[in-house]
């Protein structure tokens, strides 16, 4: 269908515009589609393949990799992989809750500064966010080491044994995860809080509602879109964490990310690694869909 239309002050036809637009879009679209669809296809293909005893890949369809993740193997049922799945969900959820509990008041604090000061605070938040994760995680390893003040204090309080460090431990994983995701949560929350309509809060006060009620009816609903984005940007990276539990956690805090990395490193079991990655993708997509239902569009930056 070829229509005549005025587009940005130019008299053009739809066919002409489509040709021109596709010429611009062709290369980036082909790049993105090929390099996003191909990996996804590769992941599905590998996940239903299996590894022969010789170590070669057998390209025959089987769902045994997913069965293995659910705990079924040649020797019956074990819970080991399901425990890792559970640990991942628990750590990600608790991380998200703690992060939001810190980021929510922080974004109000920043929004109440003068404009120039807000800028300074935001920059201070963004800097660690842009620093390489390896460096930030190592920095925690250094700070939680056995001769540093936090560990010395814990030793003195007999929370840990003499000359022990605070890592590897689940606590260290939480510290690393929360500090990693704080900026992700503060940025969308701040953009939301900054636009808050305080007249509603004042109206609620004028009508003698108690502070709690003002918060739940006047403030919280207004910040819901920011909260949803903050949850998405905290929970999804947390689900895929691998470096932080690897460096700061012990064997007890293995997450799906560690399991995946293990398959591509030590075990060299690509099909199983692909299956676990697919399950992780599926879980994050489900989370994303649920949150999208309840909130606004996911916005970033």
């Amino acid at each position: 269908m070829n229509r005549l239309l005025v587009w940005y002050g130019e008299l053009a036809t739809t066919r002409k515009l489509t040709t021109r637009g596709l010429a611009l879009l062709a290369v980036p679209l082909i790049w993105i589609v090929v390099l996003l669809v191909a990996p996804l296809g590769a992941m599905v293909a590998w996940s239903v393949a299996s590894r022969a005893a010789t170590g070669d890949i057998e390209w025959t369809f089987s769902l045994q990799n997913f069965g293995r993740l659910a705990g079924y193997d040649a020797f019956g049922w074990t819970k080991s992989y399901l425990v890792i799945l559970g640990t991942t969900l628990v750590i990600s959820t608790i991380t998200t809750v703690i992060t939001l509990a810190l980021a929510y008041p922080l974004s109000f604090f920043i929004a109440q500064r003068r404009p120039a000061r807000r800028y300074l605070w935001l920059t201070l938040i963004i800097i660690p966010f842009c620093t390489n994760l390896v460096i930030r995680t190592y920095a925690w390893m250094l700070l939680l080491g056995n001769q540093m003040p936090p560990a010395l204090l814990a030793q003195w309080l007999h929370l840990i044994g003499p000359s022990e460090a605070l890592y590897p431990s689940t606590l260290a994983v939480y510290i690393g995860m929360v500090s990693n995701s704080l900026p992700f949560a503060v940025l969308p929350l701040y953009t939301n809080v900054e636009k808050l309509d305080w007249a509603i809060v004042e109206a609620s006060r004028d009508l003698y509602s108690r502070p709690m009620r003002t918060f739940f009816h006047g403030i919280l609903p207004q910040t819901l879109p920011g909260l949803v984005t903050a949850i998405v940007l905290t929970f999804i990276p947390a689900m895929g964490a691998f470096l932080i539990p690897d460096l700061l956690g012990g064997g007890k805090s293995w997450m799906l990310g560690n399991l995946i990395q293990h398959q591509f490193g030590v075990s060299r079991d690509f099909p199983f690694g692909a299956a676990v990655s697919l399950v992780l993708t599926f879980l994050t997509m489900v989370g994303l869909l649920i949150l999208r239902r309840s909130g606004d569009e996911v916005t970033f930056l």
Partner: protein, 275 residues
């Protein structure tokens, strides 16, 4: 009309808010400060203070592996940024400035968001498996800088397209329409009107892409080969082997480079309205 006029009161914060804000800053920066402090500590072993010294920085300059890794990191970041900035800008202009049917906009938007919302380990595994599949099917593909560049470009394009796209959306149509009314052709209007107007967006997108590339560890970790060690990979490797103090110096340098980049990025993303 600015927002400041509409809401003249600068609210005083509750003491609890200030405490949380202060504590969060300590939480975010204390570990990094500890690393910086250790980087100028003369002690070879342990964390006890043995006096100020820059010897670990000097030592880095003679470490061939570190210098090669720094070079690899810069090549990776620069090349992937250059490619992704061009592709991301094309994508943004192509999407924003043409009357595409709504379903197509929606699909492309969703595809663009995929790298933003997927956990990076899944993205990395997908890339690795795709490269591995190509290798098995055709042979000859070796993991190295080239595969890392391809992987980095793929997730950078989306971020560049989002930044440039939002700049395009805020521009509105009037200036470009005026150019058309004055008989500028497509190419002329694009080159002399649209591109200069969105230049800050393109620069911001490029700087974001560069920062993302420097910031990345997981995707590099999965798609690198033995000859393409970058600084994050080198630091990770030495953590496994046991840390020597020059890692502190190296981390501090990378941190300072990041700070410079972020400050630069802030200058370009600050929208004209706020100034």
């Amino acid at each position: 009309m600015s927002r400041a006029e509409a809401a003249p009161r600068v609210r005083r914060s509750h003491w609890l808010l200030s405490t949380i804000a202060g504590a969060t800053m300590v939480f975010l920066y204390l570990p990094l400060v500890a690393v910086a402090a250790m980087s100028v500590n003369a002690a070879r072993f342990g964390v006890a203070w043995k006096g100020f010294s820059l010897r670990w920085y000097a030592q880095l300059l003679h470490n061939q592996v570190v210098l090669q890794a720094a070079l690899n990191t810069l090549i990776l970041a620069a090349v992937s940024t250059a490619i992704s900035t061009v592709l991301g800008t094309l994508l943004a202009i192509g999407l924003e400035r043409f009357p595409w049917p709504r379903w197509m906009r929606r699909i492309v938007d969703a595809v663009v968001y995929v790298p933003v919302v997927t956990p990076d380990i899944v993205f990395a595994v997908g890339m690795l498996l795709a490269f591995e599949a190509v290798r098995q099917a055709m042979g000859g593909l070796r993991l190295g800088l080239a595969t890392m560049i391809v992987a980095h470009v793929t997730f950078q394009i989306s971020f560049v397209a989002l930044v440039v796209g939002s700049r395009l959306a805020t521009l509105g149509r009037s200036v470009e329409e005026a150019a058309r009314d004055l008989y500028a052709d497509t190419w002329h209007s694009l080159r002399t009107i649209t591109l200069p107007l969105i230049a800050p967006g393109i620069v911001a997108g490029a700087m974001l892409a560069f920062t993302l590339s420097l910031d990345d560890f997981v995707i590099s970790f999965f798609t690198s080969g033995p000859s393409s060690v970058t600084l994050p990979l080198y630091i990770y490797g030495s953590l496994r082997r046991g840390v020597s103090p020059d890692i502190h110096a190296l981390s501090t340098i990378v941190f300072l480079v990041t700070v410079t980049l972020v400050l630069g990025l802030q200058l370009f993303t600050r929208s004209p309205k706020e100034e």
